[in-house]
Subunit: 85 residues, 7 copies
């Protein structure tokens, strides 16, 4: 039988999967299509997140290095996990 | 007689139908018109969702392979279920 | 005398009228002006809805057939009921 | 003395004025500047509304006839009442 | 000492100032830069408002007369009070 | 030690700093990049605010004088305080 | 084991990291791609924030000096911390 959202196990929700990827390298694509790659040291339920050693990419071109960046979650299009960058 | 939204059976709601499609291949069209196809391993009530073995399509053209991707629900236009891709 | 929104009968609200149109063919116009036609098998209070045998139209041109589609409600411009398509 | 919003009489609020216009012909301008005219048979507190015998206008040009249409409130720019169309 | 928002007197809030301007002529600029002028007979806490004898202006050009108009508050850019129009 | 948002003193929050600038001249930049300058006589927690003797600027060019203006907070980009205009 | 968002320590959340950067120089990129740099003297849970001695940059070009600025959080794309500017 199918569970309603409120009956889901907490560990099953997308945001909990993000939590389990803390301290790994991820790539965050924003709505502007610009991508930020770095080690995700922090993320909350709005997808507000912190990247350490953040790099800005436009397509495959490295545009800038930013150190530690706090990204506001409402700008996020998607987050790539588990891939080599 | 017609039921009000709060009287609906949980299993009748669109988001519960999504829950029942977990682990199947789906295609997610974003507002940007770019489409992501993969196995949906996770979805919540905002349509935040996780695709495994995600492929990016622009129309019929495969643009990239992404591994595991967390898509923020507010970008979703629609999700295609039950069709061969 | 005029009733306040909270005093309305549940069956009077627009979303309840949508509920009563379940399993009928509808046309859903999105903000992108693209239109999706199909049998509405599911709808909730955000106008998240499911179309079976969905067809995509750009104006009068059939663009694609999609099978079963879950449309995220915040993209909906309007839904046409009770007309032959 | 001036009343705070919560002290207003329910019958004074804009949405209650809309309720009192049920079953009259109105014109609904959307953010896209397209206008829909018809008999408003239903409206809720988000300005989700239903038009019967809906006509679509682009400026003064009649573009289409739609029968019964459910318009999602967040697309509404304004609603014209009490005027001949 | 400075008061927190919740400690403010109700009559000090911007929306209460709007309430005190009921039945006066105002000019409502929308995000589309189109302006509507008329007697504001109703306004709520979302800036949903009703204008009687509404006139539509594009810059200084009168474009149309609309009678009674219900404007959805989320489209409002600003409202001009206390000026001759 | 760092305080969580809910542990902050009310007088430390950005919106309380705005409250303390009441009756001073400010410049309000909107998302449209148009700027409004005037004496801020009222502001609430959404940054809805009232300017008296409001002037509209496009860059350094004075475009119009508006008297008393109620600006809807969701259009605000930023507010400049403590500078001569 | 992975903690759900509500089980996180308050000091682990992105917004608390922002709190710990108070009184340091930061760079705030807005959705318009314009960047504001200054000493962040205040920030709340919506990323509403105050910059002292704010400078406006378009790319690497200094466009203007603004003194004290209150930025509305919903315009923020990201905030750069821990880097020399």
């Amino acid at each position: 039988m199918s569970a309603s959202p409120s009956q889901q196990q907490p560990t099953k929700r997308p945001l909990n999967v993000l939590q389990r990827s803390l301290n790994r390298k991820v790539a965050v694509r924003l709505k502007s299509e610009i991508e930020y790659r770095g080690r995700m040291t922090n993320v909350d339920s709005y997808m507000n997140l912190i990247l350490n050693d953040a790099e800005e990419f436009d397509g495959n071109d490295l545009m800038a290095n930013y150190g530690k960046v706090v990204i506001r979650g409402n700008n996020v299009l998607f987050i790539k996990l588990e891939k080599e960058f």
